[in-house]
Symmetry: C2
Subunit: 753 residues, 2 copies
């Protein structure tokens, strides 16, 4: 099988949706201007909701009030109230073309001001403007970042209230990745300049040192107050100086709907054209691969003057001479920044296979398969068989095992190979190919419980030239198969038992239980199980997108939080990095939870059978249990988190040794663990990670430690997981508990044996 | 009115329910023994669930396994399984008298062992024993504390699983208040002695210093893992050396169902009898006043030998001579410890008035009254009128105000007094009495909107000799009353407006809005409002009982977390103490949220009316609002928490100045604020505190800071509150955020204007 053709080519066209923002713009733009901007290649424009006249009247309202309270007791004066908008206050109007407009809330307000008058006035401006924009049918509204001194809780509460003003309104909070905004605001007087000086708070000033994550922490407060509302998103300003990669990745995991590029972020190339640095390009490429990539907003890259005729306060009419001289000049590119973004759009790198394969499935939560209780459909098998790596590696493992056994098995009889859970037969084909390539003759058995797949297996045996009726096809649950028999009906044993029962978390589809059940047919002294061993791995992650999706799901009873989901994790961030990680590599700290090895020791299985019969350890007693006790596991793993963050759950992966030859040292492995996947089974697409959610996200302080407890539980009829996270603060030499999650348990969604 | 007779005497009989625990007891006790123990005064006995034989067989099972794994690869051996119980393993049996037995889980297990074999065996013992006790109909089961090295999460998970083994089973976790248990266990070998040495964890050992709160922290982990289950409670061992008062109060707030007194806790008095120290007595008294006081368990205070005939391993039959000599001795008290507890029971101090008044209401959540939209029933008024302090203080305030006005009002006309919301008339009576005592003549008006109370007011006017038809009774909503008129029908103004509209959080029953509405009838230059001002106060508290009750309430949608409840807070702990607090006084850190003053400035009311009409500040515009904006409030208060804890919500109180005389300096105040209540209005019973719950409790580390944000919001039709708590870690000189609560909002349960 040619793996290069197994996957469709990267047919996903990257499209950048690019807008134009001008802080100087004081009025709405006409439909003609919009059309011309589109002609230049822009997809949308920002427009202010209110006019400079409105600004002036609010500022004088505040000043007037401030003067009056300075003359009397402030208790005596009601807080000032902004009158309803007049036509002079706003040029916005309901219009079909408003989907092409992003409305900008007045940037001169200060929602988190410590001055109650300023905060109160600012909230009124926000509410008036958002409500009017929503009324006009503008659904995307941009709100400027809180000022540096602002109270994030006060700001967040105001935004939370504004979210309720229109059912379709989406609020974009404009925040810099770190530090202060480059994006300016146009008017002279910011309300914060009118605020009373805050009460001096000695405690706070002493201990609150600046931190690169301060803006992110503000955002975390805002979105928490807004209960992860999907109507709240981020307009993230990308500055020329990018923050550390850790912080870039953190922002990547947040609901960024607009990437804002101020003029100052661009650099000039040799020819003098504006371009972006390599790290900026990489950042854009990463965002562009999201299921819902953010739009881009060019900020103050030129007024479009000369290109399109946008009214602006500062644009005097050109004199006739000027107009003439302009037309005589060699026509300059009026939109070089936009042209550059379009160039980037054309030259996006191809996506990795797992992303092409999983397109549309990013961050989409699925319940794990229950292959033991459900019969799969052909199309599900077909998806599995499309993997370019997995079956190739199985074939390699079988070949190595065959060569080993040829040395071990004394007489020259064919090696007995059985595929347990053969499905539509891909592993049978691989076994036959391995036999051919190594020249080791095999006697091949295919065992399948699914009656529908059984039909296909028989047909393939009759029609596939490789199979040519040489395969023994058996319809049976592997746990009840009595084993191979020779033509004389004599029972024999299997030399190599091949299975593909692993789930996203290794044992979560009950591979240990199934292989225990079929082990009785394996040759007791030299029998080989492929896979030989497997292990479950995990790491804590931040994934606001999934948390927000889960909050929206029905099921207030809370069961939705007690399910481990199979999910192509995409828009997330690792909270703990490996000690070996470099700032560039960002290797996650993925740790092993537990492992299983096959075949299980005969002693263990004997005990298990005794227990199932009720008599283990207590001859004569009946009704005991614990027959699957040997497959229970637990772990307690510590993860150090260098940066502050919020943990929304645990990402789970697996590794497996398909076969490791003691004779030659050859080792064939598969891995979905992001740390080892590349070296062990690059481009494998068969498994998405697993995700164990936390009902209440836990905050981890900078330098904190997460202690993850996890259990694989069994009651002999089913298997389930339980998980809980404790948080410790280890900074300053003292280790103190600072938080704990609720315990998640999939007992009610257990895997049935 | 004689306030001393206003309250019923303390008729609540204190009953101690006392049990006998003997760590040496190896078997169940017979019904005869139980009866004899009851004859001695005991209410219940503890009995072991399993026998020493069971212990021996489990220990040898573990030893055998340990030996076998030392000889082979541990992966190869299934974990040992305890066989089902045999008659030799337990002497417990189903019996009607089992309600008098508390079953004790084997104290030699180690549920939180780091050795998976020991932990696994221990969980099996726990499950076998709890299930068997539940089967036998014993509903109270005692489980020994985790060992000092144990993993609290492992222990908690095991307990959580055991809680599911019987629908009526109650698990009592035996914990010392601090440090290690005094209560011994009887058998030689504890499973922890068989455990493999734990992997040395350098990090943990370095930084984990002992803390007096360690046991409490363990308990917090256990009950959090058990989701505050009401089937899980505490058997708290009271040691001779009590921990600091802070920690005592913390334990008091937890679900203690058993107070365990080991023999060593008792001291000898001058006569040689066992007694408890004063602090111990105080601790008992406090617990005894709980709505569900804990039982008491005397541990190893004597085997009852000689008193009742309990079979015991160590009791040889007495020789005839011994038997004779015993009978000749002066009969000694066989149960001096029990007798002492009974003595304490008899001599419990009387309860404070609020507790007598609120008996049965402790920690019972009520929704606040909506007197503006609902008409109260007579019995509700009757409850209000029973307060021994409130009306007395009103009378004092009226008297001072009358004397002041007599000086101010120039002509000798009677002072016009109006009671707004007169109810059944208690304040009318007080006004008339004040007039009598001061000799200042009044013209008294009673305004009431409730048509049913109006009937009573008229009847009282006709029949009460004090009233003697002198009172003008008006049926009207006070906001629409045009004011008093003289016999000629000429409109006049009120000199003193008396109201009792305050709720538990001062303004939560819309006193500000009502008094604004009636202010138009108040004399503009010298009119007095009683109360003159009031303020809302709050402090964060730990109250596991209320949190657990709320979890059990129906309403998965979460609305139950968005209601401020009126509740007689009882079993709770303050998280933040006043800087002025001493270790003995434990003065809580209650801070003012905001305040209101009456009369409101005429300017403010003029503005409000303009706004209601839609025209404030914008002549000619229509439809504006914000007429109640001047009654919105917000605050942001920092609370420092010296000790680690969990915050379940905010307790709210109020203070009010009924009247303060500028002339004489006299000031009459009411307060429910625990810091000032005693000095301002001791024994006032009319108001319970208010409680703002947090949906997800927030953990506060030792020395942490809680930043409480609260808002009083209004939309001109209703008033509601919003609240959110941030947690900062301020230890080590650096201030870092470590957690934040969700935002609570009573918008959907707002008070309607």
């Amino acid at each position: 099988m040619d793996t290069s053709t197994a996957l469709p080519p990267d047919e996903i066209t990257t499209i950048f949706y690019v807008g134009h923002h001008e802080t100087d713009r004081t009025e709405n733009v006409s439909y003609d201007v919009l059309s011309q901007a589109q002609g230049l290649g822009y997809d949308f424009l920002t427009v202010p909701i209110t006019t400079p006249a409105f600004h002036t009247s609010v500022v004088s309202l505040v000043k007037d009030y401030k003067q009056r309270i300075s003359q009397s007791d402030s208790r005596e004066l009601p807080l000032p109230l902004i009158p309803p908008l007049t036509p002079q206050d706003s040029t916005l109007t309901p219009d079909d073309s408003n989907s092409l407009r992003v409305a900008v809330v007045s940037p001169w307000i200060d929602l988190g001001s410590s001055d109650p008058v300023i905060a109160h006035i600012s909230r009124q401006v926000l509410n008036l403007e958002v409500a009017y924009a929503a009324f006009c049918g503008v659904s995307n509204v941009l709100v400027y970042a809180p000022t540096e001194e602002a109270d994030a809780v006060g700001y967040g509460r105001a935004v939370q209230e504004a979210l309720g003003l229109g059912p379709y309104v989406q609020l974009h909070v404009l925040l810099p990745m770190s530090g202060e905004l480059e994006t300016d605001y146009p008017y002279g007087e910011h309300l914060s300049e009118l605020a009373a000086p805050p009460d001096f708070d000695a405690d706070e000033d002493d201990s609150t040192a600046k931190d690169e994550y301060d803006v992110w922490a503000t955002w975390d407060t805002i979105r928490s107050l807004c209960s992860y509302s999907q109507k709240l998103c981020l307009a993230l300003e990308v500055q020329r100086q990018l923050p550390c990669l850790d912080l870039q990745c953190r922002w990547y995991s947040e609901p960024v709907r607009l990437l804002v590029f101020p003029r100052t972020t661009f650099i000039r190339n040799a020819k003098g054209y504006p371009v972006l640095s390599k790290p900026h390009q990489q950042l854009i490429s990463r965002f562009a691969r999201l299921r819902f990539p953010p739009w881009m907003l060019l900020s103050d890259v030129g007024t479009l003057l000369g290109a399109v005729d946008i009214p602006a306060r500062t644009s005097p009419e050109p004199t006739p001479a000027e107009a003439t001289s302009k037309t005589k000049e060699k026509p300059k590119d009026p939109v070089p920044h936009l042209r550059y973004l379009r160039h980037l759009q054309q030259s996006q790198p191809p996506r990795p296979p797992i992303e092409r394969f999983g397109q549309g499935y990013q961050d989409y939560l699925q319940s794990p398969l229950q292959p033991l209780t459900d019969n799969l459909e052909s199309v599900t098998y077909e998806v599995f068989e499309r993997d370019p790596v997995k079956y190739e590696w199985y074939e390699r493992a079988i070949a190595v095992a065959l060569k080993d056994l040829r040395e071990t098995v004394e007489d020259a009889r064919p090696i007995v190979v059985a595929v347990a859970g053969a499905g539509r037969g891909p592993l049978v084909t691989r076994a036959l190919q391995a036999s051919e390539s190594t020249g080791v003759a095999i006697d091949c058995w295919a065992v399948e419980k699914n009656p529908n797949a059984y039909v296909l297996l028989q047909r393939r045996n009759a029609t596939d030239p490789l199979w040519s009726n040489s395969v023994h096809v058996v319809k049976s649950d592997m746990r009840h198969w009595p084993g191979p028999s020779n033509p004389n009906g004599e029972a024999g044993k299997v030399d190599i038992l091949i299975s593909e029962l692993l789930g996203s978390f290794a044992d979560n589809e009950l591979s240990p239980e199934c292989l225990d059940g079929v082990q009785h047919i394996l040759h007791p002294s030299h029998g080989i199980s492929i896979p030989q061993s497997y292990s479950a791995h995990l790491t804590p992650i931040a994934t606001p997108r999934i948390h927000s999706d889960l909050l929206l799901r029905s099921g207030g009873g809370g069961e939705k939080w007690d399910i481990p989901y199979v999910v192509l994790l995409h828009q997330y961030d690792y909270l703990s990095l490996s000690p070996a990680s470099s700032p560039e590599s960002r290797t996650p700290n993925v740790q092993q939870a537990w492992s299983f090895t096959h075949p299980t020791s005969p002693q263990t299985l004997t005990h298990a059978r005794l227990r199932a019969g009720g008599g283990a350890g207590a001859p004569g007693s009946v009704g005991g249990d614990g027959s699957n006790e040997h497959n229970s596991r637990s772990c307690r793993i510590s993860f150090t988190c260098a940066k502050q963050g919020v943990c929304h759950g645990l990402a789970g992966y697996f590794e497996t040794v398909l076969y490791s030859s003691a004779r030659t040292g050859e080792k064939v492995e598969l891995s979905t663990n992001p740390v080892t996947m590349e070296s062990k089974s690059q481009d494998m697409i068969s498994w998405f990670p697993i995700f164990f959610p936390l009902k209440t996200p836990v905050y981890v302080p900078k330098g904190g430690e997460m202690m993850v407890h996890m259990w694989r539980q069994t009651d002999d009829r089913s298997v389930w997981y339980e998980w809980v996270v404790e948080v410790y603060d280890t900074a300053g030499g003292k280790r103190r508990k600072v938080g704990m999650s609720e315990m998640g348990t999939s007992r009610k969604n257990a895997c049935l044996m």
